[in-house]
């Protein structure tokens, strides 16, 4: 989070208490205590505007898209396609046809690994990922390697949880055919300098996929400025519904790729002799999609674009540094992931207390965190810990909630003496 303006305080630049009112779930109590929701890296909460959009769709517009000549089908189609345009604008893609609706980041990466990978990557060629990837950006590539005989190469990370860029340069060679890399690490919070990575890969003509699942809730993403070839993210981590996500792909690449799944909507003509595929983006959208989810994602984007993003970035920056200071002062607590550039995530371990026990005790205090390996077992191995406790923030969190977290951790220390 570079070059953020100085925080002006609640009620001025960014009124977090007013924004919290947009999220009805935050009003509830857990075990008699106010909910302190710090598991945003797993999924974010939804503003009323998103809940209303889902409700409105099913109440007034529900119909199948791209096929009915009737009124409701036209309305549903228009609403769904309007959501696609909102996504295009949100990430500044050139054309709507570069925006593919998928189930989530995982499906987006599988789509690229199977469609692009199986077509263009051959035995003996290499795919580069990093040591801080989520399993969903490791396993699809391992599967592709098994299928094609390609090799997976891994960029190491240093003790702060930052990519070792010199090692990346060393890994690049004439056999490298693809780079797939997280924008923000889900387990460590590291912001990866993906622009630099993309530039280095492009110098050799290697396409780059960016896993943006943890980035879009925190950073404004401009796919053309980044220059990436693919960008994948999930709706539910950016205040939208579950079950919908986006694959952005540069048109030339998407045009050259075969369909990923086959069925209705992705064809233009079917006979038993030959089938002609539909144009982009529909070539990659077989079957009835998650229409309500797409529309809900559009509503989430409307909501996000209505926020003061400079204020949001400053608030999140302050939250993270406040939390880092508060937790670093606790005896026996070690923060895992201390990169200079971080967003939204604070992973930690406590001496001789396992993350699950921490998670259970925090839950009794109303504090929701994630405990475990965060679907990033190689990261846990790198830091020599079986699991961490992860507090992950959204813009609706407050410094008062961090105080509750810190007090709850003191209770953990008391129970385990």
């Amino acid at each position: 989070m570079k070059a953020v303006p100085q925080y002006l305080g609640s009620g001025q630049a960014f009124d977090v208490m007013r924004l919290r009112e947009d999220f009805p779930i935050l009003r509830q109590k857990i075990h008699g205590k106010p909910l302190v929701y710090l598991d945003n890296g797993a999924t974010s909460q939804k503003p009323q505007a998103v809940i209303d959009a889902l409700n409105h769709y099913y109440t007034a517009e529900n119909s199948n898209i791209h096929r009915g000549v009737h009124y409701l089908s036209e309305r549903a189609t228009a609403a769904y396609e309007a959501a696609r345009e909102k996504v295009r604008r949100f990430i500044n893609a050139e054309a709507e046809k570069e925006i593919i609706f998928v189930r989530g980041t995982t499906e987006a990466i599988n789509l690229v690994s199977q469609s692009y990978g199986r077509t263009f990557i051959k035995a003996g060629e290499e795919i580069i990922v990093s040591a801080m990837e989520h399993h969903s950006n490791i396993v699809p590539w391992q599967l592709l390697c098994q299928q094609t005989g390609a090799k997976l190469r891994v960029i190491p990370i240093n003790h702060r949880g930052e990519l070792v860029l010199e090692e990346f340069s060393r890994l690049l060679n004439e056999k490298t055919k693809f780079v797939s890399i997280a924008h923000v690490s889900n387990a460590l919070g590291t912001i990866v300098p993906i622009k630099e990575i993309i530039r280095a890969a492009h110098e050799r003509g290697i396409p780059v996929l960016v896993d943006g699942a943890q980035a879009v809730p925190h950073l404004r993403v401009d796919v053309r400025d980044l220059g990436c070839d693919f960008y994948a993210f999930s709706g539910h981590k950016m205040f939208g519904p579950t079950g919908v996500g986006i694959l952005y792909g540069r048109r030339e690449l998407l045009e050259a790729m075969p369909p990923y799944q086959a069925g209705g909507d992705m064809i233009s003509l079917v006979t038993f002799e030959k089938t002609h595929y539909n144009v982009l983006p529909y070539k990659f959208e077989a079957g009835t999609p998650n229409i309500a989810g797409g529309i809900g994602l559009g509503a989430a984007i409307d909501y996000l674009l209505g926020l003061d993003w400079e204020g949001l970035a400053a608030h999140e920056h302050r939250l993270l540094s406040y939390a880092t200071d508060a937790l670093a002062s606790i005896d026996g607590l070690r923060i895992i992931g201390t990169a200079k550039e971080k967003a939204g995530v604070l992973s930690f371990v406590i001496d001789s207390v396992h993350a699950h026990d921490v998670g259970t005790i925090l839950d009794q205090e109303g504090v929701a965190v994630r405990a475990g390996h965060h679907c990033a077992m190689p990261v846990m191995q790198r830091f020599g810990v079986p699991a961490t406790t992860r507090a992950s923030f959204a813009f609706y969190n407050t410094t008062a909630e961090i105080d509750v977290l810190a007090q709850a951790i003191q209770r953990v220390r008391k129970v385990f003496g």
């Binding site: 001789s352 396992h354 993350a355 026990d357 009794q364 079986p386």
Partner: protein, 148 residues
């Protein structure tokens, strides 16, 4: 907060801190590994089985206080028991941990200290991992046991 105290009782915290039979059993003739894929916990259970009787038992692994204490209590309880008695205890503990209304606390002896776990559904698998693993070891299964 009574519920939290139900879970983290003194005995459990003690077994977590100083687990009993926490070692490699060099003369073991049965061994099984168990994983909890959800959280990455793992345990290895070693058995010395003679004529259907557990002569010795030990474990090693990494996990939370509940999984470690459960494994430690288990080894203490199973030493000297027959395979049939171990199986019977496994069933009894499983019923207790999952909050089965047929659970009979008397049948599980000292292990009833783990009864509070059933109020924490997310932690049931932590407590049952070692039991699934010892079950696999007794049955001589080659596949690692999992809680799934």
């Amino acid at each position: 907060m009574a519920e939290l105290d139900d879970l983290y009782q003194e005995v459990i915290l003690d077994h977590n801190k100083s687990p009993r039979n926490y070692r490699v059993l060099t003369n073991a003739n049965r061994k099984a590994e168990g994983y909890n894929p959800l959280c990455g916990d793992h345990v290895t259970v070693y058995l010395k089985l003679d004529n259907g009787v557990i002569q010795d038992i030990a474990f090693q692994g990494s996990g939370c206080a509940i999984s470690k204490a459960s494994a430690s209590l288990m080894t203490a309880e199973l030493k000297g028991k027959t395979e049939a008695a171990a199986e019977d205890l496994f069933q009894g503990v499983h019923k207790m941990l999952t909050g089965n209304p047929e659970a009979n606390y008397e049948r599980v002896g000292k292990l009833k200290i783990l009864a509070g776990v059933c109020k924490f559904p997310a932690r049931v698998k932590c407590a049952s991992l070692a039991w699934h693993t010892v079950n696999a070891a007794l049955k001589g299964e080659n596949q690692p046991a999992t809680t799934e």
